[in-house]
Each structure stands twice: as C-alpha cells, then as structure tokens.
Symmetry: C2
Subunit: 208 residues, 2 copies
DNA sequence: TAGATTGTTAATCGATTAACAATC
DNA sequence: TAGATTGTTAATCGATTAACAATC
C-alpha cells in the first residue's frame, strides 16, 4: 500500500481549502504551477501529492478538475463518513473544541464531553452533554465512539489516556503539552501549542 | 550559525516538560538512553538535540544535570524574557487562548484582544481588554506587540494578516485552517487542526 | 579497572527537487 | 503544430540512525 508521510497528509486539508475557494469562485480546472504559485509548495510536490490519491491522471495543458479534486481529497481524508469521538476535559480549550462547528465537515462527530467540575457536569456545551469523569467507564463504551479528544491538564493526560484505552478508545487526539505513552496499535496525535510556539519564537529570534 | 529543523525545535518543549517532571521528582541527572526509553525518540537523536543547545558536554556514565537542562532549554526557547502579542478574533478558540495561563511561562505575553462583536468589545477576557477591530490601526502600534495570534475565520485570515503586517506585526501565529501569504521576513506559524486530524484519521483508517 | 554513556564520523533512509520524455 | 503541463525516473538534500573510539 502507498505510504503517506506526516507532512504530506498535513498538506491535503490545505489543498482542499484552496480548491473549495476556487470552486466558489467558479474555477473549474487548476494546474500544478498555479497551485504552486498560490500555496508556496513546489509544483513537483503538488503533482506527487495529487497523483498519490487520484484515480485519473491529470491532463497535460489543463491540469485537474477542481470539483473532482475536492471529491477525491474529501474521500481520502474520510470527510464523507463520520467517526465518533468524545472530548475529555471541558476547560477553556475543550469547550472551544466542543463549539467548533467544522469538525462535522471533517468527518469527526463529537458526541459528548467529560469533566470533573460540578459547574460543567450535567450541562450541555456546544450541544453536547457533559458527563462526570466517574461515569466514563460506564458511559463511554455505550456511545459508539472510538476517538478521545484529550483536553485535560498535562499532569492528568497520561491517566486519562490509560483509562480511555482501557475502555476501548483506539485513537487519542491529544491537546495536552506533553508526551504520552500508549500501547502499540493505539493512534496518538498531539497538537502541542508549546511546540508550535517554539518554532515561531526561534524563527523570530534568529531573524537578525 | 547552527540550523534547527522544525521537527527538532518542536521536540525541545517536550524535553522541557519531561525534565521539569523529573526535577519535581528529585531526579538530578539524566542520560540519553533513559530519556529515549521514556519519550520514544532514539538516544542518538536526543544526544544531538541536547548537544546542539548546551554549552557544556554531557558526562560519560552520568548524563546531564536536569536543572541545567531545564535552564538551557528555557533560555534557548526564549522563555526567560517575554515577547508581546495581541490576539485577533475572540471567538471560542480565541477566548480559550486568552484564558490559557501557560503562555506567560513560555515567553509569550498576550496584552490585548481584538474582535468585531459588540458582545465582546469593551469587555475583558482572560484579564485582557478587547478592542474593536476598527481600533486596530490606532491601538496596535501603541501596545508594543510584535506578534499577532490569529483566531479569525479562515475567510478573514488573509485580510487580518495583511492589516497586522501593515501596522508593524512581524510574526503571525495562525489558528485559521488555511494557507496564508505574507511578505518576506514575516514569520508565519500555523496550527492547523484539520491537518492534525488528517494525520489521525489516516493512521486510524490504515490500521487494517 | 570495567562499563555505561558520551560525542563524532559515516551510513542509511526518506522526502523533496530536478530533469525530461510523453501527451493533449 | 507548438507549448504548457503532465507523469516518471534520477539526483539532491537533509534528517535520522548506526558504528565506534573517547572518557569519566
């Protein structure tokens, strides 16, 4: 099977966003050089990326159909059918994600939240019911969710992951700024703001 | 000057977090093999990463001083002196970031927010005053901030960036899920949740 | 001393870029 | 047809890994 590097996978949503804009503007076909000029990638890389997921070849002198590209990328990324998730840790960031409307369009449906705070348990946030963490073991397995979005403080993240995995989670989307250990076969993807900020700071400081 | 790859830069906050935990547990020295066992990187890579920023060599048979490592990484990442920022777009995610307490420890001080919503303008969020976007041109240059944290919807992100750069911003921390074009010399670092989710989904779907 | 761990140098690996013939 | 753009194959580049002598 074809292998996709992390960098490559990360580019597809960016292509998709761009193609959707083109589509709205009535553009029907797009070529690699034009994409390259707009997104700042090399045209060879774009060609490889699009080839890797397309069933049809591009057409010399024309490029590819924008509508077809949108469909291809959405299918490839799994936007066409939903995966279910719960969110653990409904603090500021967790609540923001519960309210984020676009996940549904990206094939991720968050069905419920978990927290320990009495202010939150029993309430709805972003239309999702918030359960107490004590209920996790009994409730989570009934929700049909396989993905856990982790928004707890770093010092609770590993414990939360362990519990989630024990109760059947197969993928963890981790927003805590720490490394997590998980059993083989469990997918862990971390969004680390500290790492991102480190890149920004270093670039900024090495400018002169 | 030494060059740091993006991946490498992203690892330092993760090392730092781990070393701080060790420090709290009273561990005074740590060796590459032990770090490797815990964080899942190779020990060679860890040695290279730490060598790249340390003034002193590690000690055979012992490793490195945890306290010294913490100090070294914090200095390297610029955590010891603050850079000032404003946040544009105080929706759910923007508000969450305004309330995030850890940025100060990471050398980033957000001094104010900007939004267009009458519900938010004039209020405080996370202790920061929220100005109307119409005031950006006059207020931003007075705040001493060089960094703009962008949390506006994707279709306004490029406009917001342009305005920010025009008024003197030199770095953009972009949370909108789209590619942004910026003049040469302007640092743009994007946190793209869609890209992160794409990696997670693909790994999950290719497990079988 | 013996052995664990270091730093350095070389080998490998993978991703990106370049070159170019094929094609509409 | 001519020329832009494609897909493929080879070259380059950079990062990670492996090997190993140096050292406390």
């Amino acid at each position: 099977m074809k292998v996709f590097s992390k960098n490559q996978l990360q580019r597809y949503p960016i292509y998709l966003k761009f193609f959707k804009e083109l589509y709205e503007d009535g553009v029907t076909e797009i070529s690699s050089p034009k994409i390259a000029a707009e997104l700042g990638y090399s045209e060879e890389q774009i060609r490889k990326d699009l080839q890797a997921i397309s069933s049809e070849p591009g057409r010399p002198k024309k490029g590819r159909s924008v509508a077809k590209l949108i469909e291809t990328i959405e299918s490839f990324l799994g936007y066409r059918d939903s995966a279910y998730a719960v969110l653990v840790g409904c603090g500021h960031l967790g609540s923001a994600l519960l309210n984020y409307p676009n996940f549904d369009d990206m094939g991720l449906t968050i069905v419920a939240g978990f927290d320990v705070s009495p202010n939150k348990v029993g309430r709805d946030i972003g239309g999702k019911h918030i359960y107490h963490m004590d209920e996790f073991a009994t409730v989570f397995p009934t929700l049909g969710a396989k993905i856990v979005v982790l928004c707890v403080p770093a010092d609770h993240a590993q414990d939360a992951l362990n519990m989630a995995v024990e109760k059947g989670a197969v993928a963890i989307w981790n927003f805590a700024p720490c490394h997590l250990n998980a059993p083989t076969g469990i997918v862990v993807e971390t969004v680390n703001l500290a790492s991102s900020l480190a890149v920004l700071s270093h670039r900024l400081n090495s400018k002169r």
